[in-house]
């Protein structure tokens, strides 16, 4: 189960309408970064056969089976931190993060 907060969902919707196409958001993990795994966040134009789809606050979130193992229970939020503004993952599977937070270990 993957969900998005209201703040995140409304941002995604805004981005999608600005972009003019796309059916939702893709969350995933890939094998790079200083702690082993790194997050992937992309627009989706068409879904893949092995995707799981979750609807949350009116947006569609696609996750491939492999990534879901590492992401199950994740909540996507949109926040401001200092001058930065962007999406934030709250992932209950994470045991350790690297200093930059872009990669993690489960």
């Amino acid at each position: 189960m993957i969900s998005a907060t209201e703040a995140a969902a409304s941002r995604v919707q805004a981005f999608l309408s600005k972009r003019g196409k796309g059916i939702g958001l893709r969350l995933g993990v890939k094998t790079t970064g200083c702690s082993g795994l790194a997050y992937k966040l992309e627009f989706v134009d068409s879904s893949n056969s092995d995707d799981e789809m979750f609807e949350s606050n009116g947006i569609k979130i696609f996750v491939d089976q492999k990534s879901l193992k590492y992401l199950d229970g994740t909540v996507l939020d949109y926040t401001k931190e200092g001058l930065q503004e962007g999406f934030k993952f709250t992932n209950p599977n994470v045991k350790d993060e690297c200093g930059c937070g872009e990669s993690f270990t489960v």
Binding site: G36, F43, C100
Partner: protein, 628 residues
């Protein structure tokens, strides 16, 4: 964590471009380089059309020769021709087997193995780098472009020192190491087992002189190594030797010259290889003393000769299954790696044991390099796949605690990359520094484990014993390299070390360390309980003695004598040499309880005094506020 932005589909990370990536199987005897061309993995050949490049380096007057040409110089220039350098990787001179005589001039004082050659002192990293340089040149020549990255395979049992040495050699050769990959994992990739959704695979790797068994699990496209096992002194050479002995026996030969021994060993090997296609093999050799050896060996005879060796390979197979807590029915595929798995009796034994046909369609000499090249191709971003390859720690990693005990932080067979943290505290009041001793092994006592590193965390604010929280984190990256850090949680001061042990462990030593831990499991646990009881007892004695000095006025008449009496008994008991640890543990625990009992009232009086002192002159709301 850092905040992220959304990327275009498939564009997060490296943009797609055509990058050449290579996979290298850096072997003890031979090395192989492979790449993926137009979606297909191929092994690269040298000018002579040969795929296997002997891992041999010759240092001439002003030349460095690698491969077959170097191998020919072994006879004429042995001191400057280095063979099997992989056995020296990450090892010290003291690790060398004194039984084996090497033709090299070793630099004896060095902390790691160094050889004095015509071109000066060379260590194992430099020699390996020369092999890798030659493989890199071969790849550049046949691909017309330099590779942007390489995946290099290592045995699953390689420890940190051996992995670091391999990585350094590759860097020295000017290769961009994408990652080190365990050999069995590479073999599984070569067979495309990742395309299945799930399964448990056993990799049976019988090379010339070593035997490795690994069990891999694939779950939703994710590989994980469950267990490794093996025998470092079992391989194709042993089969040659058995056949050699049989030929001597059958032809009534004895006391051969060195030349004839070498000749017959080569012939034995040829005969062995022919049994993969023939029912019977004729041997016809003329020895140096003109004696003629002319015999016929049938496949049935051959199978009898090697029967014991074949059965011997099944022991590590069973052990790996036990370690992974699996039965043979759980194995969905068996992958055959190494030239010796071409032998029919081997395939037969594996087939019978698992009641399943093993995978043999890819050349068993090349399968590891092929898997490495496929992985390299993925890592430089040429495909849409991104596997999460998980490997495993061969031995537990732990930290020394009071009493010389081992506290395991990362248990053996943990999939890597992995990070585990545990909190520790101080033992003495006002302690401001803590030594972190990193050990490797399965035993309960630090003295029986292998010491990897030691470092000190300083600047802990002085507090009562047991109050500071020191978080110790062990992190192993995707290449199996260990970083240990210690952080004092209230101040955030941190101290860390990257473990680069000066010498490594062989698969043999790992096996014997594991065997010892099983043999000594009971004794170790008794010892551990005993040491824990001693640590507790000493801590209690320590705190009571300190209390008596501070608050002797709170002691009642005779109380001091009682406490001293029990305390003395306990001290004597701790100092005594122990025969029976279980009994000694019980006695120490009983005395510790007694000491607790006789000092209990004194302790409560101190507590009451401390509380009333802190409450004096304050009203209830003040006290509550302070405690918030």
């Amino acid at each position: 964590m850092a905040l992220l932005q959304i990327a275009e589909p498939e564009m997060s990370g490296v943009p797609h471009q055509r990058n050449i990536a290579i996979g290298i199987d850096l072997g003890t005897t031979n090395s192989i380089v492979a790449t993926v061309k137009s979606g297909e993995a191929v092994v690269l050949s040298d000018q002579d059309g040969k795929n296997l490049i002997p891992s041999v380096v010759n240092y001439g007057e002003d030349t460095v020769i690698v491969g077959r040409a170097a191998q020919k110089l072994r006879v004429t220039d042995p001191a400057n021709t280095i063979v099997s350098v992989k056995r020296f990787m990450g090892r010290s001179f003291a690790d060398l087997d004194p039984e084996i005589t090497y033709p090299y001039k070793f630099v004896k004082q060095a902390s790691h193995i160094q050889i004095n050659t015509r071109q000066g002192i060379k260590d194992s990293v430099q020699v390996s780098a020369d092999i890798l340089k030659s493989l890199k040149a071969l790849a550049t020549d046949s691909l017309g472009e330099e590779a942007v990255g390489a995946v290099i395979t290592v045995p699953a049992y390689f420890d940190d020192a051996q992995r670091i040495a391999t990585k350094h050699a590759a860097e020295l050769a000017g290769l961009n190491v994408l990652r080190l990959l365990n050999e069995p994992t590479a073999a599984a990739i070569a067979y495309g087992l990742d395309s299945k959704q799930e399964g448990i695979f056993l990799v049976y790797d019988l090379g010339g002189g070593t035997f490795d068994v690994s069990i891999l699990r694939l779950n939703k496209g994710v590989f994980e190594v469950l267990a490794v096992s093996g025998d470092t002194h079992l391989g194709g050479d042993d089969f040659d030797h058995r056949l050699f002995c049989y030929i001597l026996q059958k032809s009534n030969l004895s006391q051969l010259s060195d030349e004839d021994t070498a000749l017959l060993l080569v012939k034995s090997r040829e005969v062995k290889e022919q049994f993969s296609i023939k029912e019977k093999v004729a041997l016809n050799v003329v020895l140096s003393n003109k004696k003629i050896v002319n015999i016929l060996i049938t496949r049935v005879e051959f199978e009898e000769i090697v029967h014991n060796l074949v059965q011997k390979t099944m022991l590590p197979v069973k052990k790996a299954l036990r370690d992974a807590k699996l039965s043979k029915d759980d194995i969905s595929e068996i992958i055959m790696v190494g030239g010796s798995t071409r032998l029919l009796p081997i395939r037969q034994a594996v087939r019978e044991f698992f009641a399943k046909e093993p995978l043999t369609s890819i050349n068993p000499d090349e399968v590891v390099a092929i898997g490495a090249s496929i992985q390299a191709n993925v890592l430089v971003g040429n495909t849409k796949d991104d596997w999460l390859l998980l490997d495993v720690t061969p031995l537990s990693l732990g930290v020394e605690t009071m009493g010389g005990l081992t506290e395991k932080i990362i248990p053996r067979n943990s999939p890597i990359p992995v990070a585990r943290a545990q909190e520790f505290t101080t033992y003495k009041d006002g302690q401001t520094a803590m030594t972190i001793h990193v050990v490797q092994g399965e035993r309960e006592m630090v003295a029986d484990c292998r010491s990897l590193a030691r470092f000190t965390l300083r600047g802990i604010p002085p507090m009562v014993a047991g109050q500071p929280r020191i978080r110790i984190t062990y992190q192993i990256d995707a290449d199996g390299l260990l970083t240990v850090s210690a952080k004092e949680m209230s101040t955030g001061i941190i101290s860390q070390i990257e473990v680069k042990p000066s010498y490594g462990l062989s698969g043999d030593e790992i096996q014997s360390m594991l065997a010892e831990s099983i043999d000594n499991a009971d004794k170790d646990m008794q010892m551990r309980f005993y040491q824990e009881a001693v640590v507790d007892a000493k801590a209690l004695i320590d705190s009571i003695e300190k209390a008596i000095i501070q608050d002797s006025d709170l002691l009642l008449d005779g109380e001091m004598d009682k406490i001293s009496h029990v305390s003395m008994q306990l001290k004597v008991k701790i100092a005594r040499i122990v025969d029976d640890y279980t009994e000694a543990t019980t006695q120490i625990k009983n005395l510790t309880n007694q000491l607790n009992d006789v000092s209990n009232n004194f302790a409560s009086r101190r507590m009451n005094q401390a509380i009333s002192a802190s409450l004096k002159g304050k009203n209830v709301s003040q006290v509550l506020t302070e405690n918030e």
